[in-house]
């Protein structure tokens, strides 16, 4: 495969910070930790720019660095947890004696974990689709839909009219719905 992707850190924050942040927070569930991991990812990216071969896109490359950061984060947590005393309580007065193993082992964790992973992947797919929108549409959509800005504040902040806002929202929603239909629901 011939390398056809170029690296340009000047635009990393603008282009990838939201995607990487969403990717991280859906996996670590803590806003501050997510920001730290994203920041560390960009810094590692800067330091290892020479390793970028251009076979994958910048975003894919940065995501692979981030994945390692997330794994390291959990390794660190687990090694700290290993040092702590583990206490477990069993209910000895249970009427369903003999079922204790199933009751305690076969909990709903697995299905919840699957759901969390699927939601995280859905979030990634939505961000993929958002990255194809014109910048202004993506920004308006993000502020309105993800950050929940009210219409008046958003119009004042971006210095646009209400009708212009709704036109941009409409275009963004139509493009996103079509993109998701193609890449997520039918995939």
């Amino acid at each position: 495969m011939t390398p056809n992707h170029k690296i340009d850190p000047n635009h990393w924050i603008t282009l990838y910070s939201d995607y990487l942040f969403n990717y991280t927070i859906s996996r670590v569930n803590d806003r501050e930790i997510a920001q730290d991991l994203v920041s560390e990812t960009f810094l590692s990216g800067l330091k290892s720019m020479d390793n970028f071969r251009g076979k994958a896109s910048e975003r894919t490359w940065l995501t692979s660095i981030l994945k390692r950061k997330i794994i390291d984060h959990y390794r660190k947590i687990n090694s700290n947890m290993g040092k702590a005393e583990v206490r477990m309580q069993y209910n000895t007065a249970s009427e369903s004696e003999g079922d204790w193993l199933e009751e305690r082992v076969a909990d709903s964790f697995d299905t919840t974990a699957e759901g969390v992973i699927e939601n995280a992947e859905l979030g990634d797919a939505i961000y993929d689709c958002m990255s194809k929108l014109p910048k202004i549409q993506a920004r308006i959509f993000k502020l309105k839909t993800i950050l929940g800005y009210d219409t008046e504040t958003l119009c004042n902040e971006l210095d646009i009219t209400t009708s212009n806002l709704w036109v941009q929202i409409h275009r963004a929603r139509t493009a996103l719905a079509t993109c998701l239909e193609k890449n997520w629901f039918k995939a």
Partner: protein
């Protein structure tokens, strides 16, 4: 046109978008319901639009606030200068 109970498909789509953010007025919701009752095209749009909204909710999407992004940018530039 605002006072007319029968609205165009384009107007219905606009109301439908506002509905996704809970910003459609009561009168607009009525007009949309009437349009939805007989217009298949509007129903298709509405269905797609609602599906997008529920996907976004389901994905529990997040993004950086402007201040957080600026902080990230500052940190990044600071480290970049060190290299």
């Amino acid at each position: 046109m605002e006072n007319n109970i029968f609205i165009s498909h384009e107007h219905a789509k606009h109301i439908c978008d506002k509905m996704q953010y809970g910003e459609a007025k009561f009168s607009e919701r009525i007009k949309l319901s009437i349009r939805l009752a007989w217009c298949k095209l509007t129903r298709t749009y509405s269905k797609k639009n609602s599906r997008l909204t529920s996907s976004i909710k389901e994905a529990e999407m997040n993004c950086l606030k402007d201040a957080e992004r600026e902080k990230l940018q500052r940190q990044f530039e600071k480290e970049r200068r060190k290299l």
